[in-house]
Amino acid sequence: MYVVAMANRMRMPALLGVLALLSFAAQSARAQIKIGAVTCLTGALSTFGVSSVQGAKLAVEEINAAGGTLGQPIQLIVEDNGSKAGETATIARKFISQDKVVAILGDLTSSATMEGAPLAQAAKIPLLTPSATNVAITKIGNYIFRSCFIDPFTGKIMAKFALDQLKAKQAIVMTDVKQDYSVGLTDAIRQYFTQNGAGISNALSYSSGDTDFRTQLTGVRMAHPDVVFLPGYYTEAALILLQAKQLGIKCPFVGGEGWDSPALVQVAGKAADGNYYTDHFSAADPDPRVQRFVQTYRAKYAALPDALAALWYDGARLLSQAVQRAGSTEAAKIRDALAETRDFEGVTGRISIDENRNAAKSGVILKIENGEPKMVQEVTP
């Protein structure tokens, strides 16, 4: 009786075990170049993850249609970290030990990449993150690369733009204290701004998730700065811009790539006009390469690509080009080829990997006019 009961209870676990084994068998090897992509397809950050995967998949499809890399098609194995901590480490282990990928593309956020990068480094598998901006990531080891610019660079171009183009002397910074990205940018902005003779008259803070910024904005209104730096994410930036306009604040706001989202203009409406932000990419860039990318992306996904889609598109292509240059799927050769990337022509600019394994590339400054971001300037390091 007990045995029967136990056997009954074992049914479900046994079934699950069989399914797991089946899936293991289903991933039998063929002559393909395996690249593992990890991002946040579900959970709180899912919209970002979906964009990134769409960009990467588009790139892989184009490469495979043109004959693949080293004569073989690329198999992009996409895994979801569910926007949860701890998952990326598990997925990295899966990529390394089970799928036996030649390289890892990911993760989207800095904290998730910080989990996976040490594992990739220890296993000597090259890892390329197209969108994580925390400086500490590439310091983990020589197998870790990044194809986007880092927070200090973004902060610098924000500050430089305000100084040179907006002729700002006094500024206020509003930092999202819950987000590492915002804190990092604030430090970089402050450093460059004050080093070049201008002053930060006030440092205000808020937290992601807040919806009411009127108290902080009253302080802004009374201080009359030339410009307000807002290095946060669009979720709060949209509301801040809206409430600033309602309170009658006239000075321009300058933000970073965290502003990049159609929701910014949707929520802020006319309040978004007249403000600036830096970004990796602009769908309005007249460069023919960018426009071709925008057309193919729109044809496939019925939407305009955002910066993340563009970054991951470039990241996937850069990785595959490195494999091509390496001439083999050996991890060490791919690593060296990655490190030697010079003047890679991407839709997010011309990318070269510098000695810290970060990307030296240009960014763009966008101004929102009539609800549309318009390119103002391209900024090279």
Partner: protein, 316 residues
């Protein structure tokens, strides 16, 4: 004079915020009154109210010309208010139905069972609502359509009060008056009050407890939906997780005022709203969420029955 203006300003901000908490807290307190159960999923009804408004508004956008008006004028005020009011009432109706459905499906079968079951079920319902919305409508924030023109109210000098804040405060007052009328002057309100005192005696007296409980859920959910619409008029960004924090803070407000006590919930909401605004105004914006928890812990340690609550004797 400036200081006075600033204080008044913060007071208005606090009252506007507190009104939202009060509306949500009323739902918690009424359900607790009749069922002695904290509806964990109530904060998500608030979120669903906002989403209902988001989905309904485009249907009436043409008729009521949402977003076309820039300011309130004596001619268009009635027109604008009726448009916004219609969306709000419809959204309240939808959420009332959802509230009743949840009660029927998830809570009623467990009414005779130990309370831990239904508490866990409530957590499950809350997570389900949040994640299902996230799955179907995306996790990223959506822009709530502009139902009323939002601008600084004219004629108040240096005092910047927005029309949206005024709308929140006025709408809350109206809803509170209606609620008081329903609870104090109607038969169903009488039944609600009786049920919160003694359910067995109620059913002996011929009251259909199930109907009264469903009505309570409907009422509470409608108020939460109203709060969702009102807050979205002020901060037009909605996302599936927006009900979490306000839900917890409203719960604290209900406990603060005395759980089960309707005026207590409104009072608690106002106090929490004003406290939160004060904390931010004093320069500690990162503690704005923590203050509600701090109040909860203090209240539960020193006066668990709340400001207006009654001590309930537990007989064994």
């Amino acid at each position: 004079m400036d200081k006075l203006i600033e204080m008044l300003q913060q007071l208005v901000n606090g009252v506007s915020l507190g009104s939202i908490y009060a509306l949500i807290a009323l739902g918690y307190t009424m359900v607790y009154g009749v069922l002695r159960f904290i509806n964990f999923a109530h904060g998500d009804i608030y979120m669903l109210g906002a989403y209902a408004g988001y989905l309904l508004a485009p249907l009436f956008a043409h008729t009521f010309k949402f977003g076309d008006f820039d300011t309130f004028t004596p001619e268009n005020t009635l027109f604008i208010l009726s448009g916004a009011g219609l969306v709000m009432i419809l959204s309240m109706a939808i959420c009332a139905t959802i509230g009743v459905l949840i009660e029927r499906i998830a809570y009623r079968p467990l009414r005779e069972r130990p309370r831990l079951n239904v508490l866990i079920t409530a957590i499950g319902v809350s997570l389900f609502l949040q994640n299902m919305t996230q799955y179907r409508l995306g996790a990223n924030p959506r822009a709530f359509p502009q139902l009323i023109p939002v601008h600084v109210v004219e004629g108040l000098g240096n005092l910047t009060i927005l029309t949206s804040q005024l709308a929140i405060i006025l709408a809350t007052i109206v809803l509170l008056i209606i609620l008081r009328f329903v609870v104090m002057r109607t038969k169903i309100g009488l039944a609600m009050r009786a049920l919160s005192l003694n359910p067995t005696a109620c059913s002996i007296m011929g009251v259909n407890n199930d109907v009264v409980i469903s009505f309570t859920f409907a009422l509470g959910s409608a108020l939460a939906a109203a709060a969702g619409i009102l807050v979205s008029m002020d901060s037009p960004s909605i996302n599936p997780l927006m009900g979490n924090l306000p839900g917890i803070k409203a719960f604290v407000a209900a406990v603060l005022g005395g759980i089960g006590n309707i005026p207590g919930a409104a009072l608690g909401g106002l106090i929490i709203g004003i406290l939160e605004t004060l904390v931010v105004a004093s320069g500690f914006p990162q503690w704005r969420d923590g203050i509600a928890f701090a109040v909860l812990i203090v209240i539960l340690l020193f006066k668990p029955t709340g400001i207006l609550g009654r001590v309930e004797r537990e007989k064994v």
